[in-house]
């Protein structure tokens, strides 16, 4: 796939105050650039809203509104209704974190989808309430350390499982729901473009690593998100009208340890008996997801290898043609 020829709008431009290596900033920049500035963006409360708007400074170069935490989908419903009422077809896009999607925002999201609003809802899933300092959300995976799911004498981190929100959303029988992540940009791009080509409610869950909350090296954001996929913990799937219509096959399955060892939020699992059990549990969860979606045997050319393949224009290499024969 040709990802190079995308015109870069910088819908989310520089000068925002996201942490160094922020996966959500990256994801939002990618998604909004693919959609472009000719859209209205509604943002739930959360990191993205906080770090992009600060004291009269905005990093957005498209019409953008933030209201409150829970209501982004409802505000979008209103914006979309206004567009319809005014005879415009300006796309309407919601951006929310996992709190604004899985938890406090779920009701408004469900209402928006049920009413069939022509809105793309994008969830940047960083698996905890990062804006308030890393508290667990219903998206936080099992056994993860957060400030409200601390490991201790009686605990190995979060007791509960990550909510399977894509299934909940897809169960609305909506036109399109898909998962993506910041790694595999061609995949993300294809999904955003697919979503934008459809009418009605659409949903994208974009796994967006948080160097702060996941406690990984800022430079590892892509690597971590790639491993989330390659281990099977975060399947990349597409659902249309409730049915699975696409998966990204794993060219090879990586053990979950490869993924969790890069992240401090799993560190407590290493070196203890209870932790070892939880690691096996996480492996079992990954295996189950792989089986559920057929991630190893799916009949598709779209794999973690092909989706990773970058375009090479070689012009950097060619550049030397011009200066190479200077003597």
């Amino acid at each position: 796939m040709d990802v190079r020829d995308t015109y870069r709008h910088n819908v989310l431009t520089s000068g925002h105050r996201a942490c160094s290596g922020c996966g959500e900033a990256m994801a939002a920049r990618m998604v909004t650039d693919i959609i472009g500035p000719d859209a209205v963006y509604i943002n739930a409360t959360g990191c993205l809203q906080v770090f992009t708007t600060h004291n009269q400074q905005s990093a957005w170069q498209a019409p953008w509104i933030h209201s409150v935490f829970a209501n982004a989908a409802a505000v979008a419903s209103g914006v979309e209704a206004a567009m319809r009422a005014n005879g415009k077809d300006t796309p309407v896009v919601v951006q929310a974190g996992d709190g604004g999607t899985f938890d406090i925002g779920l009701q408004c999201l469900s209402g928006m989808i049920e009413r069939g609003h022509d809105v793309l809802f994008v969830c940047y899933d960083n698996e905890a309430y990062m804006n308030t300092g890393v508290q667990r959300s219903s998206s936080t995976p099992h056994a993860v350390r957060t400030t409200t799911s601390p490991p201790g004498r009686l605990s190995e981190g979060k007791h509960h499982l990550k909510k399977d929100v894509i299934s909940i959303i897809a169960a609305h029988q909506m036109p399109y729901a898909a998962t993506a992540t910041v790694a595999y940009f061609p995949d993300l791009k294809a999904k955003v473009e697919k979503a934008m080509s459809l009418k009605g409610p659409r949903f994208l869950q974009v796994l967006s690593p948080c160097p702060l909350g996941w406690n990984h090296d800022a430079a590892q954001t892509i690597q971590v998100s790639r491993l989330a996929v390659e281990t099977g913990l975060f399947p990349l799937v597409e659902l249309e009208h409730g049915a699975v219509t696409g998966v990204m096959r794993l060219a090879r399955q990586r053990p979950v340890e490869d993924y969790i060892k890069l992240q401090g939020r799993f560190k407590h699992l290493f070196g203890s008996k209870g932790g070892a059990v939880e690691i096996r549990h996480l492996q079992a969860l990954a295996d189950a997801r792989i089986r559920r979606y057929g991630l190893l045997e799916a009949d598709t050319e779209w794999t973690t290898d092909t989706a990773n393949q970058v375009q090479r224009r070689g012009r950097g290499g060619y550049a030397r043609v011009s200066k190479g024969e200077s003597q």
Binding site: P37, S58, P63, H66, S67, N71, A81, N86
Partner: protein, 394 residues
């Protein structure tokens, strides 16, 4: 026609492009009628059945921000569920118009009317206009859009649940052309529009939040003038004057003045007539506008226009639990600030739909002219609750 029906028709005359609501007694008839009008094609509007009041408020927020005139309505629990969004709408300075079909707030759950719901939202930054009749409710809707869109402030039109919403009364609805001339097509400067991208609802810090609030406060205070002006223009256009900020009744020479809000004013007027007939110098004043609080209009009415108020009695359908009636507290402050030495007594009554009967209103006037207490008292308590005079003192 039914009050709800009249209000729905008035809303329709204002041509809202988006209507969003979640049903709650006693607001339901308003939105049902709007839904019917949309379904019949009489009203060209997007009617959105929200999944909660919280969403309904959010939808109109989005709709107005995206350049549409919008309407919602709620009451009681629903209004409180909207609370976060209502503050937000005001903070964003979006000209939303809504109706609050005033209803008590649980627990205990109670579907009947009082003002506790909208009073709880008094600090939200909305203009609050309380209607005394169905005609006024309908007319106020039309005025509210004018005020909201001129001042870039949201307006809540409060009408008593059941007492108004479910009551059939003659209502004169203006023609569409007249309304169109009075209320120009919706235009909002800060519309979400890709051709002029702006950011709404961004973050602020200690170094500018206060100025922002002060600015908002100033806008609300200044809106008082606009409310008066719009009322005058409305009266000229439509021939009906409901009072701008306040609705004063027989204040000439009045020594005891009852101050109240909402639909009870009709009965109060009947009582004033009756007591005047008995030679008592009483008058009444209704706060049509509670936010912005019309302090100077009140002071002017109560001391400058032939009124001789020695004693003011406030009869209101809400209280700040543990403190006092809400209106009485603010009125005392306003009069005190104006240097007026006048006794102001507060009565809380009509809670949870308890009817403020002619007898109760009369007894409030009587108690006021007898008593000296300035403490919060309850009007219309049942005798078995320990107070033989149906007055309870806190």
């Amino acid at each position: 026609m039914e009050g709800s029906h009249a209000v729905a028709e008035a809303v329709s005359l204002c041509r809202p492009q988006v209507v969003a609501a979640y049903p709650i007694t006693p607001q339901t008839h308003i939105i049902e009628h709007l839904a019917e009008m949309v379904a019949d094609g009489g009203l060209a509007s997007e009617f959105i059945s929200a999944e909660s009041e919280f969403a309904a408020a959010s939808i109109v927020l989005g709709a107005v921000a995206a350049g549409s005139r919008a309407f919602t309505a709620s009451a009681s629990q629903g209004l409180l569920l909207m609370t976060e969004v209502l503050f937000n709408i005001a903070g964003l300075r979006l000209p939303v118009v809504m109706v609050c079909a005033n209803r008590a707030v649980g627990a205990p759950i109670n579907i009947f009317s009082d003002h506790q719901d909208s009073m709880a939202l008094r600090d939200a930054g909305w203009i609050q206009l309380y209607a005394g009749s169905n005609q006024e409710a309908a007319d106020t809707i039309i005025q509210a859009y004018r005020i909201a869109e001129t001042c870039e402030l949201p307006v809540m039109v409060c009408m008593d649940g059941f007492f108004l919403t479910h009551t059939f009364e003659p209502v004169d609805l203006p023609g569409q052309d007249t309304v169109d001339a009075f209320l120009p097509a919706f235009h909002f400067a800060r519309t979400l529009d890709p051709t002029r991208p702006i950011t709404l609802g961004g973050g602020s810090e200690p170094d500018n939040y206060m100025e922002y609030r002060q600015h908002q406060h100033q806008a609300l205070v200044s809106a008082a003038t606009e409310i008066e002006n719009v009322n005058l223009e409305f009266a000229q256009t439509f021939g009906r004057d409901h009072g701008g900020l306040i609705d004063a009744y027989r204040l000439e020479g009045a020594e005891v003045v009852m101050v109240t809000l909402g639909s009870v004013m009709g009965a109060v007027k009947d009582v004033v007539d009756s007591l005047r007939g008995q030679g008592q110098l009483v008058g009444a004043l209704r706060l049509r506008c509670f936010r912005p609080f019309p302090a100077s209009a009140l002071v002017t009415s109560l001391c400058d226009t032939g009124c001789n108020a020695k004693r003011i009695v406030v009869l209101e359908k809400a209280l700040s639990v543990g403190a006092d009636g809400i209106v009485v507290t603010e009125l005392r402050a306003a009069l005190h600030n104006a240097g007026m030495a006048v006794i102001v007594e507060g009565f809380v009554g009509g809670l949870g739909g308890r009817d403020l009967t002619i007898e109760v209103i009369e007894s409030v006037f009587r108690t006021a002219s007898d008593g000296v207490s300035t403490r919060c008292r309850f009007a219309g308590l049942k005798p078995e609750s320990g107070d033989q005079s149906t007055m309870g003192e806190s």
